[in-house]
Symmetry: C2
Subunit: 311 residues, 2 copies
Amino acid sequence: MEIKNVTVAGAGVLGSQIAFQTAFKGFNVTVWVRSDASIKRAKPKFAGLAQTYVDALEAMKTDLAAYCRGLAASDASAEELDALKAKAHKALASIRFTTSYEEAARDADLVIEAIAEDPAQKTAFYTELAAHLPERAIVVTNSSTLLPSMFAEATGRPEKYLALHFANQIWKNNTAEVMGHAGTSQEAFDAVVDFAAAIGMVPLPLHKEQPGYILNSMLVPFLNSAQALYATGVAEPEVIDKTWMLATGAPMGPFRILDIVGLTTAYNIVAMNPQANDPESVPGKIAALLKEKIDAGKTGIAAGEGFYSYQ
Amino acid sequence: MEIKNVTVAGAGVLGSQIAFQTAFKGFNVTVWVRSDASIKRAKPKFAGLAQTYVDALEAMKTDLAAYCRGLAASDASAEELDALKAKAHKALASIRFTTSYEEAARDADLVIEAIAEDPAQKTAFYTELAAHLPERAIVVTNSSTLLPSMFAEATGRPEKYLALHFANQIWKNNTAEVMGHAGTSQEAFDAVVDFAAAIGMVPLPLHKEQPGYILNSMLVPFLNSAQALYATGVAEPEVIDKTWMLATGAPMGPFRILDIVGLTTAYNIVAMNPQANDPESVPGKIAALLKEKIDAGKTGIAAGEGFYSYQ
């Protein structure tokens, strides 16, 4: 099936990026948010994204390190990059905003749900939306932590519902994990894989539901093992990072990655482990060391300091 | 304390590399092996290493990618690299071989034990050696899987006994994990850290005993999580590798690393898990998929095929 009209629900960090990238790649994009106040808050975010794209495209003319995989081919000429800058401006002007379920749903070939990670809110949204969607429409969720099977029935179209999971800064980190539930049709799955590629993403298909998708299924135990080494007094973050980088050739070790992910997110993950309440357990020790840093304002790169200082 | 005379016990893959690298860096090296037949088998290995070093130094003159961190500074001139080639030849000529415990121990400032990963053999070796060692001598083990506390008493010098763990191809992969047991003195620990740096390694100090040291403490859960994704049918190795590489900027994903490590080693690690005997469990599924590949001769890069083909 052909996808032309895309509705993105939610204009948070990821929602706005997904909507802008989709418009940048030439699709008709409608952004649905809950209130006029949300529209007002969203608009400057989109203007900022347009500027980010224009700056990135300009930098790509002369700086190899500035290359953004989601924006252009790696050998794009200066003329091509200028043409893409014009496209970014056009994308900004083209995006429609609405607070109406009907308007959001009416012409949608694809709805990308990127609202809060709250099961009740998502269920309510899908139920309301389903009343207005055309038969053909596919619905995907960008949820990081919830599984599509939880909401498949609420969408009223379980066979056309699946997950399409993006990474932050999608114009650079252009991965799109595609994950159905047991009732997703192959046709809808394939259409979403094709759509992901069409908006400049690298589609990463999963054969079945997996909490954490592919990346977090590896990243969480990896980061956990590194934090355990530090929290139990085996070695220092700098030594642990150096070990990983020298042995695997990676550009970053686990503590540098934690600074990027943010220590608050790392804390929330370890806090889900019931053992974290026991200060003598390894999860308890990891939680304590993260809490100490968070309480001191050292929450990662965004704060200027985490395990490393960035000031 | 000053280390000049180094005895390396064992001339297997790692033992011969450690001995050659140590001689290359100007130390007096004695290699202890169990029999004259072992000496005969070892000598061509050392000649091969000398040739490997000479070839690597020559390649480093023109090929940035050929850089070996353990051999020279990254900005070494062609003249300096030629001088190092002469040193490699000299190192080969300088290494002494012995089957005598007394000769191995008599003048040793440092003994590096790199014999089989067999607790009984190690205990017997240390006990015999202890009778001949000078008071000052430090003893280290290169064991990957056994802890120094298991052998500290047998060495007769627990305060001067610790682990110094090398990676394969130490002239390129120049990490040296330094790990004491609870009774290791700070002085001996520091002397071994200094020695590791003196032979061109990056010393990675651990504050306490940790099975698997730093690297394997992270690598094993990381590789395990990746194998679980494949063994349970979530995604394909290529997709899993791509996800990791795109998200973290790493040059290799877990299945490429498994091909380098070797699937037999990966199998041995998962087989240690008692659950691996249950074909319905995740470790059981991982063991089955590794066994299938191993039975087909696909044991990794060295065999020309593993998860990827290298033919």
